[in-house]
C-alpha cells in the first residue's frame, strides 16, 4: 500500500507504513474484522468469484475459515488457524523423525557389532531410558488405536444424530399437519356455538351489528359474510380453515409409526453417544499418562539430539532416543488434533441456530437453480483431522466432492453456497452484502438460464448487491435479470465496457452488431 485517504474530503496519507496501519485500523473498526488478512480472504474467497472458478463448496480449509470469520463473535479464527499450522508442523517433524529412525534401524540390522551388543543388553535387562521409551511407545500405540476407534465412533454418532434429526423433522411435519386439521375443527365448534348462542360475531354476519360499537354496518356485514364463506376471520381476514379432517386418522397413524421409529433411532443415538464418551474418557486417560511421562523426562522436550555416533552402542542409543521422541510427537499430535476437533465442534454447536439459517438460504438458492430440492449435508472432511463441512445433497444423494456434480452444478451450487454465507454474514452484522461473479453464464446450459436468474433475483430481493460480468449475448442472464427493472433504469444498472474499454480489432469491426445486441438486452 502506498497511500490511503479516508472519505472523499480526507487528505491522502502517502507514508506507506502509516497508510497500511490506518487501513488495518479502518478494516478493524468499520468492517469489524480481526485482521486485514481476514478482510482480504473474505473478499477474495467469498465475495468475488473470478473466471478461474476456485470453488469453496468442497474446500475444507476455506469453508472452515469463512464460517469462523463470519461468526467471529463465537470463535477466534486466527488462533484456531495458528494451532492448525502447529499441528501441520508437528506432523512434518514426526515424519522426518520417522525417516531417520527407519534409516537407523536399517543400519542396526546390518551391523554385526550391534547384534552382540543387543544380546548383552537383553541379558542385562533393559536400562531405565529404554524402559521409558517402551512405556511411551506402548502408550502412544494404545492412543493411536483409541484415536482410530474414536474416528469410527464419531462417524457412527454423526450418522445416528443425522438419522434422529431426519426422523424428528418428519415427526414435526406430521404434527404440524395434524395441528392444522385440529385448528380447523376448533374453529368449526366456535362458529357453531356462536350461532347457537347468538354471540357477537354471529350477529355481525347475520344482522350486520358491529361487535365493537353495536351499530348496523351493511358494508362490514357483506365483507364479514364473504370472508366467513372463504374460511377467513370475519374481521381481519386471517385464515381459519386449513385442512379438512378426512386425513386426520391417516396422519395420526403415520405419526404413531414415525414416533416409534424416532424412538428406535433415539436409542441408537444414545448408545452411539455412550460408546463415544467411553472412548473419549479412555483417550483422555492415556493422554494424561503420556503427559505425565513427558513432564518427568526433560529429554523429551528436545526434538532432535545430536549424539556423535562413535560405535554401534551409540547407534542404538540414538535410535531409542529418536523413537521415543517420535512417539512423544505422535502423542502431542493426537492431543492437539483432539483439542482442535473439540473446539471446532463447540464452535459449530454455538452457531447452531445460525447454521439453520444457512441451510434454509442455501436450500432456497440451490433448489431455485437445480429445479429440485437441494440441501446441505454435514460430512467429515480433512486430512490431518476431521472437520465436518457442508456439502450439497440432491436427488437423495450426498455430493461429497466436486466430481459428484456436473460442471454447471458444481459452479452454481458453489455460488448458492457463497450467497447463503453472505446471507448469514448479513444477518450477523445486520447489513447487506455484495457478490461479484465473472461471466456466470459461460458454464451454463441454456435450459438453466431461467433458474439461475431466479436464484440471483432471490438474492438481490434480500437487499444484497450483485455485480456480474457478461459477454454480449442477446438471450443470456443479463437480459432476463434486467427484465424486472423498469426500462428507464436499466441503462444505469449496466456498465458498458465498450464505452470505456480498449476495443480489439475484432470488436471494432463488429461494433454495430454489438451495439444492437446491447440495446436489445436493455430494451
Amino acid at each position: 500500500m502506498t497511500a490511503l485517504r479516508a472519505g472523499k474530503k480526507g487528505k491522502w496519507n502517502e507514508n506507506a507504513d502509516e497508510a497500511a496501519a490506518a487501513f488495518r485500523r479502518a478494516i478493524r473498526e468499520f468492517g469489524g474484522y480481526q485482521t486485514a488478512q481476514d478482510f482480504s480472504f473474505v473478499v477474495n474467497r467469498l465475495l468475488y468469484l473470478p473466471e478461474t472458478r476456485r470453488l469453496i463448496a468442497w474446500d475444507t480449509q476455506s469453508q472452515v475459515r469463512l464460517l469462523m470469520v463470519v461468526n467471529q463473535d463465537a470463535v477466534m479464527e486466527e488462533k484456531f488457524r495458528k494451532r492448525q499450522e502447529q499441528l501441520r508442523q508437528l506432523d512434518s517433524q514426526k515424519r522426518h523423525l520417522h525417516v531417520v529412525v527407519g534409516k537407523l534401524e536399517q543400519q542396526i540390522s546390518t551391523s554385526s557389532e550391534i547384534a552382540g551388543y543387543k544380546q548383552s543388553e537383553q541379558d542385562r535387562g533393559k536400562n531405565a531410558g529404554h524402559e521409558t521409551a517402551t512405556n511411551l511407545g506402548d502408550l502412544v500405540d494404545r492412543l493411536r488405536k483409541v484415536a482410530r476407534e474414536r474416528v469410527t465412533a464419531d462417524a457412527h454418532m454423526a450418522s445416528a444424530a443425522r438419522a434422529l434429526s431426519d426422523v424428528s423433522l418428519e415427526v414435526e411435519g406430521l404434527r404440524e399437519r395434524i395441528e392444522l386439521i385440529e385448528a380447523t375443527l376448533v374453529e368449526g365448534f366456535l362458529s357453531k356455538q356462536e350461532r347457537e348462542s347468538a354471540l357477537a360475531l354471529h350477529k355481525l354476519a347475520e344482522s350486520g351489528i358491529c361487535p365493537a360499537c353495536g351499530t348496523v354496518q351493511p358494508e362490514l356485514q357483506a365483507e364479514a359474510e364473504q370472508r366467513s364463506r372463504s374460511g377467513l376471520c370475519m374481521l381481519c381476514g386471517s385464515e381459519l380453515r386449513f385442512e379438512s379432517s378426512n386425513q386426520l386418522n391417516t396422519l395420526r397413524s403415520q405419526l404413531k409409526e414415525k414416533t416409534r421409529s424416532q424412538e428406535a433411532v433415539g436409542v441408537e443415538h444414545i448408545l452411539a453417544s455412550a460408546k463415544l464418551q467411553g472412548i473419549i474418557d479412555e483417550q483422555e486417560s492415556i493422554q494424561t499418562e503420556i503427559n505425565q511421562i513427558r513432564s518427568e523426562d526433560p529429554s523429551l522436550t528436545l526434538l532432535e539430539r545430536s549424539i556423535p555416533i562413535k560405535s554401534g552402542k551409540d547407534l542404538l542409543i540414538q535410535k531409542d532416543e529418536l523413537a521415543r521422541q517420535e512417539a512423544d510427537l505422535e502423542g502431542q499430535i493426537i492431543e492437539l488434533r483432539q483439542d482442535l476437533e473439540r473446539d471446532y465442534k463447540r464452535f459449530r454447536d454455538s452457531i447452531d441456530s445460525r447454521l439453520h439459517g444457512l441451510h434454509a438460504a442455501y436450500s432456497e438458492y440451490a433448489t431455485a437453480f437445480l429445479g429440485l430440492s437441494c440441501d446441505l449435508e454435514e460430512v467429515p472432511q480433512g486430512q490431518m483431522m476431521s472437520l465436518s463441512i457442508l456439502v450439497p445433497k440432491f436427488g437423495e444423494t450426498v455430493r461429497p466432492n466436486e466430481e459428484s456434480c456436473s460442471e454447471a452444478q458444481r459452479f452454481f451450487l458453489d455460488i448458492a453456497f457463497r450467497m447463503a454465507l453472505i446471507d448469514l454474514a448479513s444477518d450477523v452484522s445486520e447489513g447487506s452484502g455484495t457478490f461479484i461473479c465473472e461471466t456466470p453464464e459461460t458454464a451454463l446450459d441454456m435450459s438453466y438460464v431461467d433458474n439461475v436468474v431466479k436464484m440471483f433475483r432471490s438474492f438481490a430481493d434480500k437487499g444484497h448487491n450483485l455485480i456480474l460480468t457478461a459477454n454480449v449475448q442477446t438471450d443470456g442472464i443479463a437480459r432476463k435479470l434486467l427484465a424486472d427493472i423498469p426500462r428507464t433504469e436499466r441503462a444505469s444498472r449496466v456498465l458498458n465496457l465498450f464505452d470505456i474499454g480498449q476495443l480489439s480489432d475484432v470488436h471494432r469491426a463488429d461494433i454495430t452488431r454489438l451495439k444492437q445486441a446491447i440495446s436489445k438486452t436493455l430494451s
Partner: protein, 225 residues
Amino acid sequence: MIDSHSILLRMRDVAFALEAAGSHRRRLNRIGLQKFIYLYDAVSTLYETFPPVEGHYTYKHGPYDPAIQNAVDSLAFRGFVHVHGVERDNEGNVSATYGLTASGSNFTQELAMVEPFQVRWRIAVDVAAKVNARGWGRLKELAYSEPTYAMERIHGFGRRLKPEDRFSNSTASLLEIFKRTLRAGFKDVRPSNQVILELFFRYLENYAHYSRRPSISVSSPSKGA
C-alpha cells in the same frame, strides 16, 4: 407474528384449562393459565399425544406462550370467557382471572366429546386433580420444577421449551423412566397413567421443596431430571 392456527389450538387448551379448574371451583389468572397449560403440555406424551409444535419459551414469570394470552383475549371478545377482577398495578401490569361463560362451557363440553380432543380433555382433568390435591397456590412452583424449564431457565429468557422431547432432560424422558422402572421385573404389566402422573407430581413437589432449601442450588443442571 403468531399463526392463527396456533391461537385456535390454544383456544381449545384455554377452554379445557378453565373448565377443568372450574370443576374444582377455581378461576385461573394470566400466570396460572400459562403454568397450568405448561404442565398439561408437559405430560402429554404420557397420553400418547403431543403439545403444539410452537409452544412455550422461558420468560420472566416462568414458561410462557404468547398464543395463550391471545387465545384467552380472543375467547373473551367472542363471548366464551368472562374476565374478572381486572386490576392494574403500579408498574402498569394488568391482572385478571378468567372463567368460562355458559357459551364457553357448551363449546368446551362439545369439544371434549370429539374424538381428536378427548385425550387432551382427559389430560386437563387429570392435571387439575393433581394440582387441586396440592393446592392451586402451588401451581407456579410446580411448573418451575418441571425438568425442561428447570434446565433452561438458567440460560435466560426466550429459550424454546420442549418438555415433550424424549431425548433431552425433559418431562417426557422422566415419565419414560418412571414407566420403564415400574415395568421392570414384571411381565405384561403396564402401569396406569394415573400412577405415573402421581409419581411425576410427587417429583415436582420434592424438587420444589429441595430447591427452596438454601444449601441446594436450583440452577444446577444435574437437578433437572
